[in-house]
Amino acid sequence: MNPKRKSRLILVLLILAGTGLAVALGTMALKENIQYYLSPSEVKAGKAPDGHSFRLAGLVSDGSVKREENGLTIHFDVTDNVETIPVTFTGILPDLFREGQGIVATGKLSDDYRFIAEDVLAKHDENYMPPPVQDALDKAKSISESGEKAQ
């Protein structure tokens, strides 16, 4: 490689290293602000801002969902399998909301450590698969088909 090209190559690498370093320092400085939500453990550890709204995320505990008689207010627990925080929400829930589902709720902590949500979003996981029912049906079908062949 001739010296001119070599020096231009070094220049390009320096540009990359420089912007990489700048962005790494910037994101490290803003680390807390880039977090979209806090987990129940982080809230229990006192990381939640006092009197300001923040987002809380975790799984809806099994068997914790209770509706009030007006039908719109709902109580449930959000857990990260270490700590659990009770949540109260009044409004319309997303389709994916169910027990065991991940959710992200925006709201404030009340004085008795209950999270009063203004907004609840469902957090989808990265797994895509056919319903277990469909699998079971397919299996049953293949068994009955092989049974018919045997006859």
Binding site: Q35, V104, E126
Partner: protein
Amino acid sequence: MNIWKSVMKFIYHFASPKHFYRISGKLIPWFGGLAAILLIVGSIDGLFFAPVDYQQGDSYRIIFIHVPAAWMSMFVYMVMATSGAIALIWKIKLADVVASSSAPIGAAFTLLALVTGSIWGKPMWGAWWVWDARLTSELILLFLYLGFMALESAIEDPRAAARACAILAIVGVINIPIIHYSVEWWNTLHQGATVTKLDTPSIHISMLIPLLLMALGFKLYYATVVLMRARNKVLYAEQNNGWVKAIIKAQ
């Protein structure tokens, strides 16, 4: 050292406008035909034959557009940044042509990924848009593409424009690992990686196959369109050279 020299000689030979024009003309029908077949087969498989998702039902089928578009939005940018570096270091003009031909295509893929994600997000998450790290970094990618195109048209001298754009493309490439790892480095509403991780993909094989068919189809579509655009640009830039005049005369 001799091998290096002959490799470089081959690259310079291919990158000469005349040979690029000839070879790309032969490649385009193959790439285009294959892209059409893959996109048709992938769409039919994805929309009619892939099973419904256990949680999302039929709504998940948008991933057959959304995921390939998002992958391409990052891939095209990396092509632009690599071309920019090649153009700066080795002064190969064709690399500038490839970068500038790629920008609008990459911007279209990015916009498609953002729009399809938003359409999916409303029923599934309950929000059209959230400012989490994945969505925000993808939006920045769209602005990088638009910035590249704006910078290119703002500078009148084509050589100066190409050099400025190459530097912008290289600086912006730092956003690509941020987009990819955003779902691991920070808490995001966007779910983690399903396919592009070092583990086995967490997607059923009957859904993975149409997804990969579509992804390959998108890639070949990009190859087709970028070559067509680059050919036009090469012809325009070389309009005063003998070989272009010969082509025009032959027609």
